[in-house]
């Protein structure tokens, strides 16, 4: 086995020999299950007339949820992406925090190779998180849609394409997490930045950018928007007020890949190749 593949295997073992991964995976599942299940029930109820549109304040007009299943299934990545992002960032900053970079670099002195191995391992584990999130959004969300008599479209190839793109997006988010981790090696700072950006800054930017054509085109390249474009469905698309279309799925994927590469390469220079003391 080549030294690169050995390093990838070692990075897998690192993640799976501490408790973080399954704690994040459980919270991810519960969070997405609650959201997809709850909103699935609400929207399906409105669509089927079980819940009167008058009973929910939508500010006038009955919402049209013509494409309900992909919207619900899309929660897996449109909301769940923060989990692989955190996993990647924590797996990377943890090495600096616990000074395990010392034994890591003693075992594998080629640091660029180690970072590449870490990125690949976390990307695959991120895709695994995608499976967990899909289990929640399609499993629980789809089940509830079915219970309301809405076609869950489980046999529709489009649905399975969405699943595949969700795994890709979640994998890329974990890779971005590794990049964020090397870029912001302080673990606490890294967590704060990830949470502040994903939960507050970016949603605001996406909303603000959506009012003008020019800014909407730029806003399309925000990481969360690119991710939603890659997967192909998001609650944010409901708020779109301009005629600017989101990126194509492959454009969104390339944009995410670009974020991952830029963050990782910059981080390599900022922290990874520095002295380990």
């Amino acid at each position: 086995m080549s030294s690169f593949l050995r390093s990838v295997a070692a990075e897998f073992v690192k993640v799976f020999t501490t408790r973080l991964w399954w704690m994040l995976a459980i919270v991810l599942f519960l969070y997405i299950a609650l959201l997809a299940g709850g909103l699935g029930a609400l929207f399906a109820g409105i669509q089927t007339g079980v819940i009167s549109p008058d009973a929910v304040s939508t500010g006038g007009g009955s919402p049209s949820f013509s494409n309900l299943p992909p919207l619900i299934y899309g929660f897996a990545s449109s909301v769940g992406y923060v989990f692989p992002l955190l996993l990647g960032a924590l797996a990377t900053t943890g090495e600096l925090r616990h000074q395990t970079l010392t034994p890591t670099f003693l075992a594998s002195p080629r640091r660029g190779m180690v970072l590449g191995a870490k990125t690949l391992a976390l990307t695959l584990i991120g895709a695994g998180f995608g499976l967990v999130a899909i289990a929640a959004s399609v499993g629980v969300g789809g089940g509830i849609l079915g219970a309301f008599g809405v076609d869950a479209r489980l046999l529709d190839p489009e649905t399975w394409l969405l699943v595949a793109r969700t795994l890709l997006a979640m994998g890329l988010w974990a890779a971005i997490g590794v990049g964020v981790g090397v870029l912001i090696p302080n673990q606490v700072a890294s967590i704060v930045v990830v949470l502040a950006f994903t939960q507050f800054v970016e949603p605001l930017l996406r909303l603000a950018s959506s009012f003008l054509e020019v800014t909407a085109q730029i806003g399309n390249f925000l990481p969360g928007a690119a991710s939603d474009a890659l997967v192909g469905a998001s609650v944010f698309s409901l708020a779109n007020t301009t005629t600017v279309l989101p990126l194509d799925w492959w454009q969104g994927g390339l944009a995410l890949l670009g974020y991952a590469l830029i963050a990782t390469l910059l981080g390599y220079l900022v922290s990874w190749k520095k002295d380990v003391t």
Partner: protein
């Protein structure tokens, strides 16, 4: 049996900003011997060792194992085993998994993990999370990491810190055994007394510069130029010394005469008819010699 490689420092220097942490270090560490790398805290020992291991980039010079830099070694953990001072463990990982990660990364057989844990006396604690380890157990785990590739070279930074007396006795024997098997053993310490029973050679640095290289015995000779002498009739003895032009001072246990030769004083007293009650060379401990070397306040 793995064979040791020669460690060679050639003009190693390291600047942190404008501060020179280490400057122009050149020395050689030979296989089959235990070499003590000594100096007070902050002398640059850890920085030097981290440069040797490729963890810190040198500002100048090269440090090699058998002519190869650490990063150029084909399989580093099988050539060099290192235990550094910092506790480099994830507290939530068990000792077995901690070592397993690096065994996998280095392509070592999995059974090496339990072998080395048993060797350092942690066999019964292999599946315990490292967060619950005592300082001594962490030191042993660090040593287990160093041993995992059965390397010919051992580089250990302050391995005795935090060990209990039984552990200290154990590691002293361990260091001797490793050198006896032909391995190169480099051990740092800020206390000579900690390692003086184990080391053959010493490399002493202070303030980032080399102050002494040689066998252990080289720091012990000619360091005690005084002889302690006393008599029931101290005044007569003092007069005899003065007459012979030998300088002396009055110490706690007698007169401190400025000569390394007790026989000379014995003859002097005999011819002067002065009875002696004490006559011996003043003993200066290795530690005092060591402190004198690194202190720099008075050279020997």
């Amino acid at each position: 049996m793995p064979t040791g490689a020669v460690i060679e420092f050639t003009g190693i220097g390291k600047n942190f900003g404008k501060v020179a942490a280490v400057s122009d270090l050149s020395f050689t560490v030979l296989p089959g011997r235990v070499t003590g790398f000594l100096g007070p805290n902050g002398a640059g020992k850890t920085t030097s060792l981290r440069i040797l291991l490729g963890l810190v980039a040198a500002s100048s010079g090269t440090a090699t194992f058998g002519g190869l830099r650490y990063r150029d070694l084909p399989s580093p953990l099988k050539t060099v085993g290192a235990a550094l001072e910092a506790a480099s463990f994830h507290p939530g990982r068990t000792a077995r998994n901690h070592l397993g990660v690096y065994a996998i990364a280095s392509g070592l057989p999995r059974n090496r993990v339990m072998d080395v844990l048993t060797q350092v006396g942690l066999g019964d604690h292999a599946n315990q999370r490292v967060g619950g380890y005592s300082l001594g157990m962490r030191q042993r785990l660090g040593l287990a990491f160093a041993l995992i590739g059965d390397p010919g070279v051992l580089v250990l930074d302050e391995p005795i810190n935090g060990l209990d007396p039984e552990g200290i006795r154990w590691i002293r024997g361990f260091l001797r055994d490793m050198a006896a098997e032909g391995r190169t053993v480099l051990v740092s310490s800020h206390l000579l007394s900690e390692v003086q029973q184990s080391v053959d050679d010493v490399i002493i640095i202070a303030g980032g510069s080399l102050v002494h290289v040689g066998p252990l015995s080289s720091i012990d000779t000619n360091t005690a130029p005084q002889t302690i002498v006393d008599s029931p009739d101290r005044e007569a003895l003092a007069a005899a010394l003065t007459a012979a032009n030998i300088a002396f001072s009055i110490g706690r246990t007698g007169l401190l005469a400025a000569t390394p030769d007790p026989a000379l004083l014995g003859h002097l007293a005999f011819t002067a008819g002065v009875e002696l009650s004490v006559l011996h060379r003043q003993k200066v401990g290795l530690e005092d010699s060591f402190l004198a070397l690194v202190g720099g306040s008075h050279s020997l």
